[in-house]
Each structure stands twice: as structure tokens, then as C-alpha cells.
Symmetry: D2
Subunit: 318 residues, 4 copies
């Protein structure tokens, strides 16, 4: 029986790039990991050994670095759209039919040093409330802030653009306001119901934009949008009194949709990073929700999508 070559794609993965914008004394940096994947008329490359339709992955890499110089990097999303359009629209004889750009971005903050004077932070009414050291930023010194990795995926098929932004490795914990009880009991149940537990998870989130890139449609402010989505995820996690991680997941997703009109689908993957209460009774001690063993594996894994009515969800299941 004949065999068929099915879906295939190729590209250059994990192009690590640091772009310094030196337009002022105060440098700006972007630190990205860019992966490119192309689809198109590549049957001969697989079947005959002819590379006539093959844009080498080395060239793909060169293009990423050259574009970083030519166009700068305002945001990962805008940079990815530029790249995706180039590979599909500009490759000779139209052999590239689709491009997918995935980008991880690592955040840096400026190193700050106290300038010796006193300062304060507070609301208008209570401006003396908190005294702080006044800090000055160094113009070109940075420290990597590892709270989370920002992600984005840009897909272009020659007609429209689809942008999915996201984050991963954002670890959060509520030390109370979480319960879990009233669940199914069967012959394999040993878990005791919990009325005050730690809830901790490592958030992976992806959210799709309504933006389609057609007809000169204006792009969202990708960086501002990212900051706000992250804020709403954190706030919803913190403010939700939780009866299950599923409930928290749903609250996080809807919070984003409620507040960010440019987003129409949110998908979350939330591992339940179990914190087990240690039994201290053998040592004559009462553990009043104070001492926990933080386990690595196994872990609960909760995944789900929340989307606007009428939108067909597209973010794939992991």
C-alpha cells in the first residue's frame, strides 16, 4: 500500500537574541528566544532529495538577526508578525505557504541604587505612610527578573494573522482561603476533606487576540496588553475564595475576558503544586496549618479554556 507524506514543517528553533536599543543614554533591551517553523511545498525535499524548495534553516536564523537590526523589537508580537509575513510573502516562487513564529521573552529590570535622600510612597491622603529610600536607575545595568517567561505565537497563512500571547512559570500561592470537599467517594478514596489548605500553582496561560492583521487593521498595544492580562490573572487568583483549582481557573479566565476587550479566548494549565500538611502528632506537636511538605510529583493538573460566546476556540490542548 502506498504511504502518504502528511503534515510537515521545519525551521530554526531557539534563536537566542538580545537587542539593545541605544537611542538614548538609557538603553532598552529585549531578550528573546525565537523559533520559526514553515509549511509549504516541501514534498520533493522529503521524497527526492532535491532541496530546490528548501530555504535553509541557517538562512532563517540570519533573517531573524537582520530583522532585529532593521526594524528593532518593540514587542515580540509585532516582531513575530514581521517575520511571519516575510517568510510567506517574500520567499521565492511562493513555496512557503504558512509560517509560525514562537517567541519566549525574558524580563529584565534596571539595577537601582539608593541616592541617599529620603522618599516615601503613599496615597494622596496618606503620603507620609511609608518612607522609602529613593533609588536611581543605572542607565545600562540590568538584572534578570525571573517571575515568569512571556510567550507568544504568531501564525500567518498568507491571508490573516493569528496571535496567541501567554506566560509560563508564574508560581503563585494562597496560604489560606482554599477548601476542597464534597467530591465523589469510591473504593479508591482515601483523601480527607480539607477546609483550609494551601493552594499553589505554576501558571501557564495563553490568550488569543481578536486581531487578524487584515486590511491594515491596527495592532493592539502588545506590551500594555500583556502587563494588564498578567495583572488580572494575579488578582483573580488572589481574590478568589476557592473550592477547587478548577473554580480558580475559571475565575482567572473570565477576569481576563471581562477586562481586556482585545482578548477573546483564554486557556490555562494549572498544576496543583501540592503542599501536604506534615503530621507532627508523633512528636507531640499540633500542626495548625503551619508546616507543609512541598511535593514535586505527582501533581494534579487542571486545564481549561474560557472564551467569548460565538468565538471558535483555537488554542490547542497540550
Amino acid at each position: 500500500m502506498a504511504h502518504v507524506l502528511g503534515q510537515n514543517q521545519y525551521g530554526k528553533a531557539e534563536n537566542r537574541i538580545v537587542r539593545v536599543h541605544r537611542d538614548s543614554a538609557r538603553h532598552e533591551i529585549k531578550d528573546l528566544n525565537v523559533s520559526v517553523s514553515l509549511r509549504g511545498e516541501f514534498d520533493d525535499v522529503h521524497l527526492t532529495g532535491s532541496n530546490a524548495n528548501c530555504l535553509p534553516t541557517d538562512t532563517i536564523k540570519n533573517t531573524v538577526y537582520a530583522f532585529a537590526k532593521e526594524y528593532g523589537i518593540e514587542s515580540a508580537e509585532a516582531f513575530g508578525i514581521l517575520l511571519a509575513r516575510h517568510f510567506v510573502d517574500d520567499t521565492e516562487r511562493g513555496v512557503v505557504h504558512g509560517a509560525r513564529i514562537r517567541i519566549e521573552e525574558y524580563a529584565w529590570e534596571r539595577i537601582r541604587t539608593p541616592d541617599g535622600s529620603a522618599g516615601f510612597i503613599g496615597s494622596e491622603k496618606e503620603k507620609e505612610e511609608v518612607e522609602v529610600e529613593v533609588e536611581v536607575e543605572m542607565g545600562h545595568s540590568f538584572v534578570r527578573s525571573g517571575q515568569e517567561v512571556r510567550t507568544s505565537e504568531i501564525v500567518y497563512d498568507g491571508e490573516s494573522v493569528r496571535v496567541i500571547s501567554g506566560l509560563k512559570d508564574l508560581v503563585v500561592m494562597n496560604s489560606t482561603n482554599s477548601e476542597f470537599w464534597g467530591y465523589i467517594k469510591d473504593g479508591y478514596t482515601t483523601l480527607e476533606e480539607a477546609y483550609d489548605r494551601i493552594l499553589a500553582t505554576q501558571v501557564t496561560a495563553r490568550w488569543k487576540f481578536g486581531h487578524s492583521g487584515r486590511d491594515g487593521e491596527a495592532q493592539p498595544d502588545w506590551n500594555h496588553s500583556y502587563t494588564q492580562v498578567k495583572r488580572h490573572l494575579l488578582e483573580a487568583f488572589a481574590e478568589t475564595y476557592s473550592y477547587s483549582l478548577q473554580q480558580t481557573l475559571h475565575a482567572m479566565g473570565t477576569r481576563v475576558l471581562d477586562n481586556r476587550a482585545e482578548v477573546d479566548e483564554v486557556r490555562l494549565e494549572l498544576p496543583n503544586k501540592h503542599h501536604f500538611l506534615v503530621d507532627l502528632e508523633p512528636f507531640g506537636l499540633r500542626n495548625e496549618n503551619e508546616v507543609y511538605y512541598a511535593a514535586d510529583r505527582m501533581y494534579g493538573l487542571i486545564e481549561g479554556t474560557v472564551h467569548r460566546e460565538g468565538v471558535v476556540p483555537v488554542i490547542p490542548v497540550a
Copy 2:
């Protein structure tokens, strides 16, 4: 506008289990990492905080360990089918509609020790050709053999079973018999054509079985099938004179389909682990394809599916 709860699933991930079969003096061990994910009527868990339809992930974990005792583990695939059927068919009120079991298996070999006598290995005709130390196996001592990790995914929807087996982290290299030239040149091309290069990759492969689990259909011999698929992947890699990694990918996929009737779809992910020839001319030396720098990142990434005609491919793109 109202928001909709879309695709969702949950379960217990990475249940690490070692099962010792002690039926004879020669122990057998299975070393697995089992991840379970359930789909079903879980809307209330997300929306109302009611856990009445929630089978706790702790119970899922208990079930995995109890089943390992009750049924033993002949193969990851058969064990996964048992688990998937249980969660869907046996959970109360039919609230679980689908189950996905993913398993990683870590291989162990017996520790062998020389017994002091002489031995040999060879064909019938040339039996003196290679003398070897005769080794005896210890009955209960093992060393982990890290060539690759065996993977499997079992999905059951209440009617039929779909099994995708695979492997990952299998690192292979041809030190010659690989070329790359005749590709597209554009303004970003700097790569020089290569007529003798190292080809190295870290194979991730997944292959789907025709087996559907319906009507008492007999299961394949999963372990034998695995051994043979791995063998054919290795042989095709070794025997293909390559003009591109795409061509090697296609040869590997078709080799499996040609030889294993139980498999009807193969998907491969092949990172091109670049080995760059080091320029030694500044030191007055000629590098005749002898000294390479093995790079970590960036890397080419080649992905593709080969399937039988008439089969609708289902293995998802990573």
C-alpha cells in the same frame, strides 16, 4: 457578553510507579511515569464550586497504584487501556466521558557479571570468530539503560480506544553519508553547501496503531512491536544516504510502515543537532571533517507525518 467554558480536563500527572514482578527468582521490573487526564461533566466544578462530579486526583493516583497490584503491568499500553476503561466505565453516574493516559517508561537491564569461563558469539559458520566473556545475570539487580524513553498515550471515549506509542531522547549520529546543497539562495543566505557533514539528531517518534479496542479485538504484542519499531527507525537512519534531514525523516517513517502492519501513522520530530566544523586554518591545520563543535542552540527542527493511504492522521503537531 457571556463567556463560555470550553474544552477542559483534569487529572493526576506523573505518578511514578515501580512494579516488581517476583513470580520467579528472576524478578521483572516495570518503571513508569503515569499521567491521567479526564473529560466529562465538570461544568459545576468550575462554575459553582460544587465538587459533586469531581473524582479527586488523589483517588486517581490511588487507582493507578491499586491497578498495578491487581493486574500487574505487562506493557504500558495494556496497563493504560485498563486504566482508561476504568475511569470512563466505572466512575459513578457516568460523569467521566473520556480518559487519556500518558505513560513514560524507563528501561532497565540486568547487571551481568563474568562467570570466568570462555564463550563466543558468531554465526553458525563462523562460531569462533569473536570470543567473549560469558556473563551471568543477577536475578534481581538492574542498571538503568538511558538510550531512550518509551512513551505511550491511550485515549478512550467510552466506545473505542486509540493507542499512540513512541519514544524520545534517542540520540543518533552518522559521521558521514550526509550532504546538503542546492537550496534556495536569497539576500540572507551565508551557509556554504556541504558535501560531507555529520548528521545528528535526537529522535522523538510517535506512531499510531490500527487497534481500536472494539468487539474483543485482540491487542497487538505491544512490547515486541515497540522493539521492532525502534529497530527499524535506527536501521533507516543508519542506512539512508541523506541529502536533507527531511529525507531521512521520510525514510524512517516509511520504513516503519513497510515493516509493521499494526502501525498506520508515524510522526517524527527531528532536531538537527548541529555539529559545526571548526576552522583550524588560523593554526596552520587542515580540518578534514575530524573536529566538530557540538552546538546546543539554535537548531534546525524538522517535523513530519507519514501515514498509510486512506488513514486520517490524528497524531497532533507539537
Copy 3:
């Protein structure tokens, strides 16, 4: 010839513990990874199979968790001193002669949410300068801040205590103010001199305290000391115009000694995280120190100790 049992030690490694201090509505958490290692009269355990002198590692683990409840965790260092003294002073028949406690600490910050009112931050003179959203802290919601991991090692030999604190995985970068030239040239030199380069490193630092724990000597304020040492390391990195990473290392070490009287030895390990300027000339572009390839391996590795005169350095070479 007889064989001798030399240096040996054992213990329980990587006890993951989260301690919640719930004394007020504003919870405090400590997130530690505690490793214990004991030395003593363990010859028989190795030689005869008698465990009469063996305190099981399981008991060591239990002790860590019980002490976390009984004494709380004010700082990793104080907690480690308590544990070390216990294992040596309290284990029966004095069979434990020395204890080493190593602790990693993961930092968390509170999740903050805007309260809707306007605020500002600034020096007394310029208080309107920067307007900020006023944020309120949630009392029991945290996000892990991954800038660095805090480390400490406490060694107790029955008489005195030695404390070495430190940090790791603190990634910093200067986008200018770094040069490298005037070095040795030999037959293997190809590097071009650099007059403006990126200097980036991932700081591992360890520093020893003068504190010996004898005679009721008061302990330093470990947490404040840590914050200040980190600050001085960052400031010295940022403010040093660098002709080599060695010079930067020396500046960082001396800065700590200059400012923190409680510290008498500093050791630094600074991998030179190379950022290579990408050659864009083939594409008709000039790379004016703007586009870099961030390499993983190989990397320069610079290590060194700075200590006060008269102090015998003890922090071991990695």
C-alpha cells in the same frame, strides 16, 4: 594491603518545607530546601552492617519539620544553627561529631492590586515627579520572585559554628562600559580586542561571617545582612567600568567587605555569559552594538576570593 575508610558523611538532602507564620492576618511564609549531613562514629555502619550508631535519614527529615513548628523560621541561617546544634549535641552517646546544614531559600513577594486611588513616589523635593497607582497587598497571596536563590551553609563541630551565606542564579548585564584588550597573544589567538561589549554573568556568591556562635555571642541580623550584601554586589557590578570580568569580580567582593563588617570573606563564581555581536555585513547592515547572539556554551568562568587581611579563607573552590 589493607584499605581505610576515610572521610564519610550522610544525611537527608532536599527536605522541601514551606512554613506559614499566621500570627497576624498578614501571613508570612518561608520556602526552604534543607539538606542535612552528619559526621561521626559511623565506621561500624560501613564495615559490619550494624546500624546501632545510625540516626536514620528519615528521623533527620522528621526533625527538620518538627523544628520548623517548634521554633518557627526567622531566617535560614538561625534555623540551620538550631538544627546543627541539635544533631551534634542531642544525638545519643555523642556519636554525631559534626553537622552541616545547607539551605536554599526561594523568595516570594505579596501579590499587590491597585486600589483605584492615585499616588506618587519621589524624593521630598520632587514629590510630584512620578505618579503611580497605589497598590494594596493581599494578606495571604504570594507570587514567587525568581531573581535569585538565597543559599546558606551552617557547619557545627560541637564547639563553634561557621556560617556561609550566599546567592545563585542572579543574572546581570551591562549593555556597555565593558572592554577587553591587551591580553596575551599566541599561536592560538583569534579573538579581536573589544572596546565596547556586553558584560553579562550569572552570579554565584558565597560569603563567610565572622560569627562563631561561641559564648552566647549575638547572631547578626541574617535577613538584613543578606539584603545589603545583595545590594552591594549589584551596585558594584553596575558601577564598575570593566576591563575584564576578573576586575568586576574583585570590585564586587571588595565592595561587600567595605560595607558589611560582619562579613570577612567573599567568593564569587562568574560565568561569562557571552553575547556575540552578529555579523550583519553580508546583508548590507552595520551592527552598531545592537544585535547579539546569546550563547549557552562554551563560556568563560571566572572564580575568586577576596578576604580581610589576617583571615584564613575557608570557602571551598567549586
Copy 4:
């Protein structure tokens, strides 16, 4: 008070090199990760910003690759000795006083394919016992065999050479023949005594050679020695009926000293990879040492040295 620059060293770490020896149709490959560290007259580099005494790490890297071409790589140890001697003996003005070379080696085996004929393996007396497929090796196709990583450290101070070889990540398990009881009980003891448990560990071993490199002293056969030491470690692990992991450690170390005259010191680090018996009684099942949960953390960690009488041990404690 003045500050003193103490011990310092620098070099190029993790030079990844693949060396193909193509002298015959049957290629040989060596796959190494080479880290170089130099000590010497580097005070000015730290203190004044003068690099006059600095051999750039880039040059160190070039030297590693050039030497791989010029001298080939017969063994990591012999290659490391060559490099160490070069950096100390040949660097201008004798500014380098000592060199330390650390090498990781990754093992590859040839890909073998059945040739279709029947074969067998067995002792002279029982030659029909086991029938095997006869396999032919491909001359230039390899698969990485991940059982363990081979390590070596070569230190040269201008006079003599010290070689410490080793291995890491060798995971072994005995499914029986291990007990643990008769230990100290105190107020924190909850562990139950075990009379039949799984013993599993991930071996890190280092062993020092008597070889000093002086006076044209002949080098050991490093590769043969390595194979034999690994064999004796495995055999001792498998054959020791164990009352503690300490006892097993001691048996492994002495076995090497008993059998390998070229080795005079052995140090082992053995994490106790706990396999906990799962309690199946709540489900009406008896777990007769058949079903285990393989835990990641915390873990016991057993470390110790065995050396010949009269030898001063030098392998450092981790």
C-alpha cells in the same frame, strides 16, 4: 583594613567537542565536554585592569580544538594531560602556574542491524543455549548510550600530574537483598524497620590513580581501566547483601581497590533513591513488596572515601 585577593582561577568551561577518527572505514568517535581552569600570576588582571598576563578564554577554547586535531583523542585522560601541560609549560613568561582540566565523556555505540542469519551465545559446553540474531555493525552510524557519563579531572602544577577519573548518573537497583533495622530511635523516629526493601541509587564515583606523570612514567590504559572499574562497581553493588547503603558504598569502594592496582582512592556519593511501598490495605489488597512509589525528593545521601593505607586522600568532598 586592607583586603586580600585569595585563591582565583579562570578558564573556558564546557567546550563541546566531537572528534571523528576516520582512519579506517569504521569511524571512531569521541564526544567530550572539556572545561579548563588556570591558576597563576593574575593579580593585575583583578586589581589594575591590565590584561597583560591574561590568556583569553577564547584562546583556551581554540587550543582545545586544535589539540584534538593535532594529537587525536585516545582517551579523555591522556588528552587532558596534554592540555594541562601545554597551558602551564608553554604560556609565555610562565604566568600560568597550574591547570585543571575537567572532562565529561558521552558514550556512543554503533547501530547494529540483523544480517538475517542465525547465531548463538553461550559457554563452550552449552553453545546452543541461547540463540541470537547475528548483527552487523554499521561503520559510521552511532546511537548514544546513556547509561552513565564518564568524568575525569587532570591537575598539573608544573611538576606532577594528578588524575581522578569517575562516572556519574549510573542508576542501579536491587529489587531485594536489602534490609535496614537496628538504628537509633529517638523522639523524632517514625520509620519502621525494613527486612526486604528496594535499594536504588544513582552512582557518582571518583577514583584517583597512583600515576604522577613524572620521569616519563608510563600512563595506565585509561579506557581499559575505566571499563574495569565500572564493572567492579556494578558487581559489588549487585552482589552485596545490604544492611545499609553505607555498607554497600564500602563494598563498592573496596572492590575497586582489591581489583585495580592503578587506583589508590575511591570516593562515592550515593543518593538513596527512595522507593516507598504503597499502602494498598484501604483497597483490600496486600502489597507484597510489589508496588512502589519512586520519590524524587527528599532523599538520603551517603558519601564516603575508601583508600589504600598510607595514601593521603585528596578527592574533595562535594
